[in-house]
C-alpha cells in the first residue's frame, strides 16, 4: 500500500503528472472573480470565503478524470485487482494520493489568495481549518465518481455531472464554517457536521468505489 502511495506521488510530481494544474486553476479562478464582480474591497471581503471554497472544489474536480483512468488505460488496474491488495485499500490509497497532490496544496495556497480577496483577518484560520477538514471528503467522493466513469471514453463531463451534486453537503458546511469564521460568529455546529461528513465518507465510500470498480473491470 505504501508502495502504491509512493508510486502515485512520484507519478504526480514527474513531468506530465499534472501536479500544479489544480493550483494554477485555483489561482486563475480566484483572480478572475474581482474582474467579474468589481474591485470594491468591502464586497470582495464578504464573498471571499465562498469564492475560495468554490474555487478549491472546482480545482479538485479538475484532476479527477485522471485519478483512475490512466491506470485503467495502461492495464495497471487489472494487475492491481489480481494483486494481493484488497481493492478497497487500492481505492483509499488513490484518494489519499489525490488529496496529498491536489487538496493539501490548495489548502496551503488558500490564505495567499484570501489576502488578494481581502478576507477579514479573523477568517484566515477558519478558512484553512475548514478546507483542511473538507477537502479529504472531496477527494474520496471524487474517487467514487472516477470509479463509476472509469471505463467510459469521454467520461469527463459525466464525471462532473455525477460528482457535483454529491459535493453539495460538503460545500455547504465547509463554506459556512469559513463564512462564520470571517464574520466571527459561532461555528461549532457546521464545523462538527463538516467533520462528520468527512469521517463518514472516508469510512464508507471506498467500499462503494471498490464495488463499482469491480463491476467496471469485469
Amino acid at each position: 500500500m505504501i508502495a502504491l502511495l509512493l508510486r502515485d506521488l512520484k507519478l504526480a510530481f514527474r513531468a506530465g503528472g499534472g501536479f500544479g494544474l489544480g493550483l494554477a486553476f485555483f489561482l486563475i479562478v480566484t483572480v478572475l472573480v474581482p474582474f467579474s464582480v468589481g474591485p470594491q474591497s468591502s464586497l470582495l471581503s464578504i464573498i471571499a470565503p465562498g469564492v475560495l471554497w468554490l474555487g478549491a472544489l472546482l480545482a479538485c474536480l479538475l484532476s479527477l478524470d485522471r485519478l483512475l483512468a490512466l491506470d485503467w488505460e495502461d492495464g495497471s488496474l487489472d494487475l492491481l485487482a489480481t494483486a494481493p491488495l484488497p481493492l478497497e485499500a487500492v481505492v483509499a490509497v488513490k484518494s489519499l494520493a489525490h488529496w496529498l497532490t491536489t487538496g493539501l496544496p490548495l489548502v496551503l495556497v488558500a490564505p495567499l489568495l484570501g489576502v488578494m480577496l481581502n478576507l477579514p483577518e479573523t477568517g484566515f484560520t477558519w478558512l484553512v481549518v475548514s478546507l483542511l477538514i473538507g477537502t479529504p471528503a472531496l477527494s474520496v467522493i471524487g474517487t467514487f465518481g472516477a470509479a463509476i466513469t472509469v471505463g467510459l471514453k469521454r467520461g469527463g463531463l459525466l464525471l462532473s455531472l455525477l460528482v457535483l451534486p454529491l459535493y453539495v453537503p460538503t460545500l455547504i458546511f465547509g463554506a459556512e464554517v469559513a463564512r462564520r469564521g470571517a464574520t466571527g460568529t459561532e461555528l461549532e455546529t457546521p464545523l462538527l457536521l463538516l467533520a462528520g461528513i468527512t469521517t463518514a465518507t472516508i469510512a464508507l465510500l471506498p467500499f462503494a468505489s471498490a464495488a463499482v470498480l469491480k463491476i467496471n473491470l469485469r
Binding site: R7, A15, D74, G75, T82, A83, P84, R218
Partner: protein, 204 residues
C-alpha cells in the same frame, strides 16, 4: 498447486460465450489455449484470473496464485523500468527484480523511462513483471505480440524455467513457442444459442 476447472461457463457483456469447460493445469505443465478470434480466450483468462465472475462452474486452486498478463503492460511511461518493476515487487511482496532484469536482458534499459522504450522493449518489461510477482500460475494473453525472434526465444526460455521450478502456465498464442505443451482447443465449447421462443433466454 493444481488448477482445476470444472464445468465452467463464461460470458462477456451479458452474452454467454463458452460452456462445459473442463481441464486441469498441473505444476510443471503448460497449456496452449487455441480457438478462433472472438470465441472468448481473453474472457476465459480474465475469468480464471478472478477479474470477472463465471456464469457457472468451479475454478479450484486459483486464489492468489495467478499472475495475469494481457495486451496492456501496466507500465507507467514516466517511471523507469526498474521503478516500474520495483513497484510490482513491493505490491506482491517479493524481494528482488534482478532475476527478472537478467532473464529479459533489461539491465541496460533499467534506468530508462518506460515511455522511451520501443514496443518490443516495453513488452519485455511487461513480461519481466511476471517473474517479479512470484506467483506460480501464469495466465498469458498473446504474450509474444511485438516481440522479435530473439525475444520470443527469451520468453520461451523463461516459461521453461518457470515450469522447471514447479510453476505452470496457460498461454493464449498463435505462434509456435517450441514448448512441450498440450493444446487446449476451446472451439467446441462455444455456447449454442437458446431457442428464440425462450423469452428469458433472450435476455442473456
Amino acid at each position: 498447486m493444481t488448477l482445476t476447472v470444472t464445468d465452467l461457463a463464461i460470458a462477456r457483456g451479458g452474452l454467454a460465450l463458452l460452456e462445459r469447460l473442463n481441464f486441469v493445469l498441473e505444476p510443471g505443465k503448460a497449456l496452449i489455449l487455441r480457438g478462433p478470434n472472438g470465441i472468448g480466450k481473453t474472457t476465459l483468462l480474465r475469468t480464471l484470473a478472478g477479474l470477472q465472475a463465471p456464469l457457472a462452474g468451479q475454478i479450484q486452486g486459483a486464489e492468489d496464485r495467478i499472475a495475469y498478463a494481457a495486451h496492456a503492460d501496466g507500465l507507467k511511461p514516466t517511471l523507469t523500468v526498474a521503478e516500474n518493476l520495483s513497484f510490482w515487487m513491493s505490491v506482491f511482496g517479493t524481494h528482488s527484480i534482478q532475476p527478472a532484469l537478467d532473464r529479459y536482458d533489461l539491465n541496460e534499459l533499467a534506468d530508462r523511462q518506460a515511455g522511451n522504450l520501443s514496443a518490443g522493449q516495453k513488452r519485455r518489461a511487461g513480461l519481466a513483471r511476471l517473474l517479479v510477482t512470484g506467483r506460480p500460475i501464469w495466465m498469458l494473453d498473446e504474450p509474444t505480440v511485438s516481440l522479435d525472434r530473439n525475444a520470443v526465444t527469451m520468453f520461451a526460455e523463461a516459461v521453461e524455467d518457470h515450469l522447471k521450478y514447479g510453476g505452470s502456465a496457460l498461454i493464449a498464442t498463435h505462434i509456435d513457442l517450441g514448448l512441450e505443451a498440450k493444446v487446449l482447443d476451446i472451439s467446441s465449447n462455444k455456447v449454442k444459442p437458446r431457442p428464440i421462443e425462450d423469452f428469458d433466454g433472450a435476455f442473456l
